[in-house]
Symmetry: C2
Amino acid sequence: MAGPQSRGTVTMSEVAAAAGVSLGTVSNVLNHPERVRAEVRERVSETIIRLGYVRNSAARTLAAGRSNTVGYVMVDMANSLYTDIARGAEDVTSSSGMYLVVANAGIEGGTARQATYIDHFVEDQLQGILLAVFDNDVSGADRVRQAGGRVVLLDVATDVDVDACTVRIDYELSGYLAAEHLLRLGRTRLAFAGGQRSIHAIAERLAGAERAVADHGAAAIEFLPSHDLQAADGREVARSLAERGADDLPDGIVAAADLVATGLMPELLARGLQIPGDVALIACDDNKSGYDNVVPLSTVDLPGYAIGQVGMNLLLDEIRGADHVHRRVVLKPTVSARESSIGRTPLV
Amino acid sequence: MAGPQSRGTVTMSEVAAAAGVSLGTVSNVLNHPERVRAEVRERVSETIIRLGYVRNSAARTLAAGRSNTVGYVMVDMANSLYTDIARGAEDVTSSSGMYLVVANAGIEGGTARQATYIDHFVEDQLQGILLAVFDNDVSGADRVRQAGGRVVLLDVATDVDVDACTVRIDYELSGYLAAEHLLRLGRTRLAFAGGQRSIHAIAERLAGAERAVADHGAAAIEFLPSHDLQAADGREVARSLAERGADDLPDGIVAAADLVATGLMPELLARGLQIPGDVALIACDDNKSGYDNVVPLSTVDLPGYAIGQVGMNLLLDEIRGADHVHRRVVLKPTVSARESSIGRTPLV
DNA sequence: CTGTTAGCGCGTTCAT
DNA sequence: ATGAACGCGCTAACAG
């Protein structure tokens, strides 16, 4: 007594029977409508609606050997870089007949959950995967490749060497633009706050800032490292700064990340320093985690939406094209000046 | 010559052959390891790894009649309410053996894309769907139900009547808390800015604000409606306010949404008004879209993470339980005071 | 243009 | 504890 009916599912052959056609014809109505005479097509469509038939995509994928889905494994939903990427990818996908599913790996458990999601996506026979790299761990790409899947890597470091398309951000330029912004405002005693040189992404930003200072000629920059890139690290840096003489302080600070700036800010203010009066502040990225900033924070915005668009286009090209060749695309960030560097200027 | 090999896929029967056991045994080591002798289990596991076998979840789902996946259809990735929900849902799911996929419907094309994603999820045989309601359109739930699927509705209005669990926010309380916050700061001439009474969610917030004023006794509140809830509407409201005499202005404003406050702010400042000196400002929600605010914005925060947790637990209960009964849960918001209402106070 | 049929890869009986 | 056989619902190739 436990037929498909009892599972509440209407199958294609039931539709076929009810419409007085064969199974193959129903399939054609669904997948190749042009092969079916209009009259029959109409009758079948009606029956489909009347019976409330819904495709079984498991069966469909199994028979066809592939799904019509692509996936995006993101690092952290709370970070706007990754949600911007998602929206860029989404917009490209939806105008291409495919459908995009997203998985949020999170940053807590290292790359474990990322690996889990990759495995799921691979098992799901997805046509391709957009993978936002975390902690510079590119091993996920190999997992996909080994299983015969397609990947595009997002936000990789310069020096990765993988068998896949990559889209990366010019972090060196991010540092350069941040420092240049402060220099243009007349600041000459700069500091780069947060992170460690051994971390590639930080080293790049720092190098960019140093290059900007070198280009300027009449300025200097020092590095104020910290253990991590959290708000606590920003506060730590601010406290070490506070022990100096007043005339030994920087007049402009490039924060390695916006959370660092969020930590710096209240400590600086608490010590009577004006922002941006005494010290102008700008962060090297804008992931909106600094929403609680006491002073609205100037940032160098990362081109998340574009990354998503470009990445998905690369992926779709690989999916379609026999003649696909891997590419590496580099995207540029842009400055968003706010009160922490240019002072309170009401928006118009 | 076009066997499974050429598709790059290793199948279970190939593993079985290589390990010298039958197909059924391989299936058992994967799904019911305890039924297989340790020695054999070991040998099969090795073979699986050696051959790089990956499950085909399409086949698995088809044979088993159900997948091990749950889905979350979100309204808008750029709105932190929905990403908070995702993280709450994610955390519950990952400690339950299931796996969560997310789809972003977006707010541009009305509910069209939402419907598309719901259909996909249903066709994918997902075990259940978490559906964030947009525009108070609950029809998605019926689609799922008709196809025999399970749904939990998130962020519904009070008056919906659907055959599903629901989790909603107490928006009336949101309005109440916002107004109460201003009243406690000594403001007595309040205004509620943005939206229209005909919109349920706005009517609730407004009613809450009015209740707070009534509770207070010695204060008044007026409603300043606007067409929509965008920043442009906030600017519009501010301009109409500016035409009044200086002593006819409110000293506290509850913005119906944070974008409205974002629009209000610069217009008020441009007219020489101090925030919060002349007029204190608080918004009825906190979706981080006001990141660019000139003055950091006080908000009533919506319990997104909790909604995700509760919603997913409800869904898992329905998936597991034969004895499931639908529930409607109501969650409370909380105030986050920032400069726009309490003035510039560095965080400690 | 329509009907028939052979698998797609795996879970699940049922024997043994 | 293990293996053989059936069928999940559908697509695609082919026959008519």
